[in-house]
């Protein structure tokens, strides 16, 4: 369908010409690509990674099969993630003359039912999620608007605006929605210094965690001496439980490319790298396709849009390591070395990749840039708080009803995010803690729920924004175990350069392990283990003070913050040998209900420790000292007589 009008024609009319009137042919195409009204039914399948894990591929194949078997004409489009990961696989349908509607959890079995309704020009109410607002068409009756759903109402989607809506690998569609116009205006009509000023004025801060002013960073690099400079886009998010950049690239790679071109122009470089995790197969594929589209349309390469500006984007696949939050480590990796941080100063903006001035920007930061320029600095600074303008994307996960990808204005409270957007706690559980900022972030407790999420307020409760992981825990989560889990991860991620980080994290892990395990010998008295806690605090402070890079400086944070908020849970583990969430396996105590036990002897036979005693047809008994908490008796009991206390 792209044959009728090549992309470079679109570029000419949409990007280069300033007249509002478009030639008929272009206008028709733009109209069709904007899909305000359609001639054929359009079926959109949410095919981000989360969608695919949920089975979007099978659903897609089933829809294709249905269309073929029933000889139906329809346009089938794969889109990115719209953020509602809890409702995947999502299928949207737009009928001619009707607004687009969204179906949730469309497994292959539901396809026939839904499509039967669709081709009868109606809808299947059972699986409906909502309809999109469309000003020029009469809405469906009795279907709520998507944007009125609590999940969306409390969000402000700027960067993710088009994710899950547009075809991610159609440059024409992106341009028809106003894409690349900000880039064209920048490189044709603005000076690099002007753009930097604009971004400084907007107050945009790095979304990777540090929160440094993006425009300032560009300034330093632009002012640095030397002809050759580099721009590196960090899309290698390595936090477990964070998938913001991936979903962004899968859903709208052109937005990132537009941001990169503008940033490169502002810094005065023609060489850009996108560093992206090799396991993000789908994101890499879509980004590569989008880059090729840009090259064909003349938006990347030599003398783009006849402006005299050259630009080249190279994809580098990261081989996996957590230390990439530290930009100097990322730079070493790009040079083909071990990803070990370098001392600062000199800062990368003065001496970075191949010792040339280098700007490292997070993907989300760069994706903000075209939006700011398109809608204006004044519009942008009104969103969020005074010192932290704009929005932040979070990957929301854990024990909540609606996990997904959200974008909220800075200054939104945790309570609002959890109660309204996330739909509250799962299975009516009660909130215990939330981990913000990934493994090296900190946990917040109930009393911090009304804290606002912006750089300043978070610093006030000794927490960090991080890159955007937000995991919510309920009463069934053990905070000691969670601290141990993070420490295990960080210890494995430590690059090994600084001794406090390399050895210190290992010692901290050992202390946490000894708290969560049953002591093997009796020499390990509770007092010794309690001393462990004191050492944790001391050790944590030393690691924070003496490590070179951000990883080490923040590594003790999850443990120290858990200790601060949940000290009594640590003490319970030590003195009472009890894990109130029953997560720490070694500390579980099983009991047999004498009323329910029939004396079938099966648990006694299966117990690997010989901890169960009793005679046939009489209730059995578990010897607590011998029990290791393996839970086999619990699994094998047919009478539900074994219980945890």
């Amino acid at each position: 369908m792209n044959n009728e009008l090549a992309s470079y024609n679109m570029v000419e009319h949409l990007l280069l010409s300033n007249s509002i009137e478009l030639p008929g042919e272009v206008e028709r195409k733009v109209k069709r690509l904007r899909r305000e009204t359609v001639d054929l039914p359009v079926i959109y399948v949410g095919s981000g990674t989360c969608g695919q894990v949920a089975g979007a591929k099978e659903t897609f194949a089933q829809i294709q099969k249905y269309l073929e078997e029933n000889n139906q004409d329809a346009e089938l489009v794969e889109v990115g993630c719209i953020g509602m990961c809890w409702a995947e696989p999502l299928v949207d349908i737009q009928l001619p003359g009707r607004p687009r509607i969204s179906y949730q959890k469309v497994t292959p079995q539901k396809v026939t039912e839904i499509l039967d309704a669709t081709f009868n020009i109606t809808y299947e109410p059972k699986y409906i999620l909502g309809q999109f607002k469309n000003p020029i068409i009469e809405p469906w009756e009795k279907i709520p608007y998507i944007e009125d759903l609590p999940f969306y109402k409390n969000q402000k989607r700027i960067v993710l605006e088009d994710c899950g809506i547009l075809n991610p690998v159609s440059i024409d569609e992106y341009m028809a929605h106003g894409g690349y116009k900000a880039m064209a205006n920048t490189i044709l009509y603005t000076t690099p210094a002007g753009i930097r000023e604009e971004i400084i004025k907007s107050g945009l801060r790095g979304r990777g965690g540090g929160g440094f002013l993006t425009g300032e960073k560009w300034h330093v690099a632009a002012d640095a001496e030397g002809e050759q400079k580099y721009l590196v886009c960090n899309a290698d998010e390595s936090d477990p439980g964070a998938f913001m950049d991936r979903a962004l690239i899968e859903g709208n790679p052109h937005l990132l490319i537009e941001g990169i071109i503008i940033a490169a122009y502002a810094i005065g470089t023609s060489k850009c790298y996108v560093y992206i995790r090799s396991s993000y197969e789908l994101a890499i594929k879509r980004l590569r396709e989008a880059i090729n589209e840009c090259k064909e349309a003349g938006l990347l390469g030599h003398n783009i849009l006849d402006s005299g500006f050259n630009i080249q984007i190279k994809l580098k696949n990261g081989a996996g390591a957590f230390v990439w939050g530290e930009e100097t480590a990322l730079i070493n990796s790009l040079e083909g070395k071990r990803g070990i941080p370098r001392p600062k100063p000199p800062y990368p903006a003065q001496q970075g990749l191949f010792n040339k001035p280098t700007v490292v920007n997070n993907a989300e930061t760069l994706a903000n840039v075209p939006k700011i320029l398109k809608k204006g600095v004044d519009w942008y600074t009104q969103i969020g708080t005074e010192k932290s303008p704009g929005t932040k994307i979070f990957a929301l996960a854990g024990k909540i009803n609606q996990p997904g990808l959200i974008e909220v204005p800075m200054g939104t409270s945790f309570r609002r995010i959890i109660d309204n957007i996330a739909g509250g706690m799962k299975n009516g559980g009660s909130f215990k803690a939330a981990q913000i900022g990934g493994p090296s972030g900190s946990c917040i407790a109930k009393e911090n729920l009304d804290t606002k999420v912006d750089y300043e307020s978070l610093a006030g409760i000794d927490a960090i924004m991080g890159s955007g992981g937000l995991v919510v825990a309920d009463d069934n989560t053990c905070m000691v175990d969670l601290a141990r889990f993070f420490m295990d991860f960080l210890q494995k991620s430590s690059c090994g350069k600084c001794i406090p980080c390399r050895e210190g994290t290992r010692r901290m892990l050992e202390i946490l392990e000894s708290i969560t395990r049953r002591p093997q010998d009796n020499n390990h008295s509770s007092l010794d283990r309690f001393k462990g806690i004191m050492q944790l605090e001391e050790l944590g402070k030393v690691i924070e003070d003496t490590s070179l890079c951000g990883l080490g400086q923040t590594a003790p944070k999850p443990v120290l913050s858990a200790l601060h908020h949940f000290r009594e849970e640590f003490e319970e583990h030590i003195f009472d040998r009890k894990c109130r969430a029953n997560v720490c396996r070694d500390l579980r105590s099983y009991y047999i209900d004498v009323e329910a036990c029939t004396g079938c002897t099966i648990c006694m036979e299966k117990c690997p420790e010989g901890a169960i005693i009793g005679t046939a047809h009489h209730p059995h008994f578990i010897v607590e000292d011998k029990c290791t908490g393996c839970g086999i008796c619990y699994d094998v009991c047919k009478f539900d007589a074994v219980f945890l206390k």
Binding site: T49, C50, V53, A54, C85, W86, E88, S238, D239, P240, G241, A242, F243, R246, S278, S279, Y280, K316, N317, A319, G320, A321, F322, S333, L334, E335, G336, K337, R338, G339, A395, A397, G398, K399, P403, G404, Q435, G438, P439, G469, V471, A473, T477, L482, F485, F486, F489, C495
Partner: protein, 155 residues
């Protein structure tokens, strides 16, 4: 094997050390792991001692030095999956197959990996076996799945 590695190099034409990691990725893409021969060939190509190449390759999580099993099991151990009990699942698999993460069963059928995050946090806990995903899964379900694979193989 050496010829194959050399072919990869002639095709890619690395311009310098900055391409080392990409070349290692291509080699792993071809062989499924980094064979010892590759370290030596790359050492000559990049004029670096083999120890240096090995040190770089071992730094990154992506590189493996033994081949995968016929069924490669990836247990997601991200934060969300951990909260939902992924360690119990991992322990069950370790028990069933008698291997630890990073190892392969003697018959070459299964290999096990604990992945930092698969990226489907809304469906935790998630286990991936080759290209099939098991979402919102439990230790019990995975036990049955492993048995199923075993039975299929025996037939």
């Amino acid at each position: 094997m050496e010829d194959k590695i050399k072919n990869i190099l002639t095709e890619y034409r690395p311009s310098g050390r900055e391409d080392l990691i990409s070349v290692l990725q291509l080699i792993q893409g071809t062989f499924d792991y980094i064979p010892e021969e590759a370290i030596n060939v790359l050492s000559q190509e990049f004029s670096l001692p083999p120890s240096k190449i090995y040190s770089i390759a071992t730094f990154y999580n992506q590189f493996r030095f033994t081949s995968k099993g016929k069924y490669h099991i990836k247990v997601c151990n991200g934060t969300a999956c951990h909260i939902y009990g992924s360690e119990e699942i991992l322990r069950e698999i370790e028990k069933q197959l008698a291997i630890k993460p990073g190892q392969k069963t003697n018959d070459g059928m299964f290999s096990l990996e604990a992945a930092p995050c698969i990226g489907a946090c809304s469906l935790s806990p998630v286990v991936r076996i080759n290209s099939a995903y098991y979402k919102n899964t439990t230790a019990g379900e995975i036990k049955e799945v492993l048995q199923l694979y075993r039975n299929n193989e025996e037939q």
